[in-house]
Amino acid sequence: MTLVWFAIGLWILGWGANVALANGPARDTAAVRLAVPLIFGATLLGMWELIVRGLEVPSVILPPPSQIAGSFAANLGLLWGDFVQTILKGAVSGYVMGCGAAFVTALLVDRSDYLRRGLLPLGNFMAALPIVGTAPILVMWFGFGWQSKAAVVVLMVFFPMLVNTVAGLSDTSAMQRDQMRTYAATWGQTLTKLRLPAALPFIFNGLKISTTLALIGAIVAEFFGSPTLGLGFRISTSIGQLDLGMVWSAILVAALSGTAFYGLIALLERRMTFWHASVRGGR
């Protein structure tokens, strides 16, 4: 029980430090901006550890972080195999194919007003649908290997990406288009010099939404059938064995790769849309 009191003390300490930092003189420096969320996260982790140990929660319900870390370190090889199978083979390949296909489709759609008016509402509708539901069908078609996971990912990322790209391509003002016309620019020149750069913020928005969707698709598809490795497989079998340390390790891998994937795209966005107001305006 004393450990629980320690946890409460830790919370007060951590929150107090954050209050002091966030309202203190250095409140707008980059270091404080980074430190405050880190302190918050570390406080929560510490409380998790202390409360689980203090209340003696059985580890089949919630293992303490130290046990998860131990299990993670002990199974690095196994988890790396899962990472390659699910993330690199399933999610990333499907992501590239799906986003590429959506981009090409958007360019085609953009040339015809009829197609745009027909496909956009439909794409919007499809983007709101629970497309993960197609996972069992695609696993049936493409087998248990990574191909079926990539297929699910393609379907999941296609519509958000399509809708965003089409919206981005039409995000130029009449004045800008008129100017391109006075230059006698061809369709291709207008596209590469004006409309694609103007569409980049929208395209990156679609790409960022798609990173999460890609991982969700790849993992859920594994619940419907997979070879004997992969994050989804690991999670569902380890739950069967009540090996929650392993489950949390697999979740940790998924979380880390999800965050890294998203961060990579966000970094690319900052490099490529350096001219945009949201990037230039500081932060």
Binding site: L62, Y114, G118, N124, P130, A135, A254, A255, T259
Partner: protein, 331 residues
């Protein structure tokens, strides 16, 4: 997120009756493509069935056919493909087969089934209406929890600098995590401490739906401009009055934009949450269909889920229009 982008792209200047034909045209083309795709997808099973019935098939052994491309088989056996659209256990059912399955598992099951509404007075547990109801319950409960949580967090974030700085980054990170990975664990863990049924699914729904609400509401609560905030200050209004009379009303359009995304996400959460527990719901139907090779059943459940999503998003939009009109904002 996609919503805001899409509104811009949509041809807003077109009158409503002119917007429909292109959509219908594209839908017709897609359905036609579907019918065409059914032939090569099912060609091997169909040819085997035709061979058993005594027809001449051009590579006579099934072994040879297995290694051939689907289109090559279609071209070599144009006469034996009549069964393609009515085959019993197809890899890809034709649209009308899905519609028949949908009819049989909803209206027909309730009206004529032994356990249907007419004979037994309750919804049949074999009908999609019952399963959609199960999913809908979890979706709505999770949606309400997620929305309340999101609004509360947003109010805290707007009023407390500490919360803004410490919680907001983690809320963003939490969305880059493929949360459905947690779904089976949440269900098993909650089950082991005695919670089961609706709550575990609703928890997953809530997790998926809270984030759009947080982001939208933070933006909405900060929407009042400096002039309006200054006016409140000249009235010497307390923080609570600023919240109730200025911030909350001006955040309503932002709230509804996020709610439309949140309710769709919440449905996905409920369906994924139903996969590990076979206790009814559209997700359970899909998994059962995939175990027993009943493709038409999966497609029917998928169509039902699509209809449910459309209905939920439409209902949210309807409430939005009503509410904004009553509040005197343009619709």
């Amino acid at each position: 997120m996609t919503d805001a982008a899409a509104n811009k792209g949509q041809a807003g200047q077109w009158p409503r009756w002119l917007r429909l034909p292109p959509v219908l045209g594209v839908v017709c083309v897609l359905i036609a493509l579907w019918y065409v795709a059914v032939v090569p997808m099912n060609v091997k099973e169909v040819l085997t069935a035709a061979e058993r019935a005594g027809a001449e098939i051009s590579p006579p052994s099934a072994m040879e056919r297995r290694d051939m491309g689907n289109w090559a088989l279609v071209l070599r056996n144009p006469g034996a493909l009549g069964e393609s659209w009515s085959y019993d256990r197809p890899k890809l059912p034709a649209p009308h087969q899905v519609l028949v399955e949908l009819y049989e598992s909803t209206i027909d099951e309730e009206l004529n089934g032994r356990r249907g509404l007419v004979r037994s007075g309750t919804l049949s547990n074999r009908s999609l209406i019952y399963h959609a109801g199960v999913t809908l319950n979890a979706t709505l409960l999770g949606f309400v929890i997620g929305t309340l949580l999101g609004v509360t967090l947003a109010v805290g974030i707007v009023h407390s600098r500490v919360m803004d700085m410490s919680v907001m980054p983690w809320a963003i990170v939490s969305q880059t995590i493929p949360i459905v990975a947690l779904a089976p664990m949440i269900i098993v863990v909650l089950y082991s401490i005695g919670v089961q049924g609706l709550i575990p699914k609703a928890v997953i729904s809530a997790y998926l739906s809270f984030f759009p609400v947080v982001v939208g509401m933070v933006k909405g609560l900060r929407a009042p401009d400096g002039m309006q905030m200054d006016l409140m200050r000249t009235y010497n209004a307390p923080t609570s009055a600023v919240l109730w009379k200025l911030r909350l009303p001006s955040s309503i359009p932002y709230l509804f934009a996020s709610l439309k995304i949140a309710i769709a996400a919440s449905l996905v959460g409920a369906i994924v949450g139903e996969l590990p527990v076979q206790k009814g719901g559209l997700g359970a139907r899909m998994l059962a269909g995939s175990y027993y090779g009943q493709t038409a059943q999966i497609w029917a459940a998928l169509l039902m889920a699509a209809a449910l999503a459309a209905l939920l998003v439409w209902a949210t939009g309807w409430i939005e229009r009503r509410m904004l009109r009553r509040m005197g904002m343009r619709t």
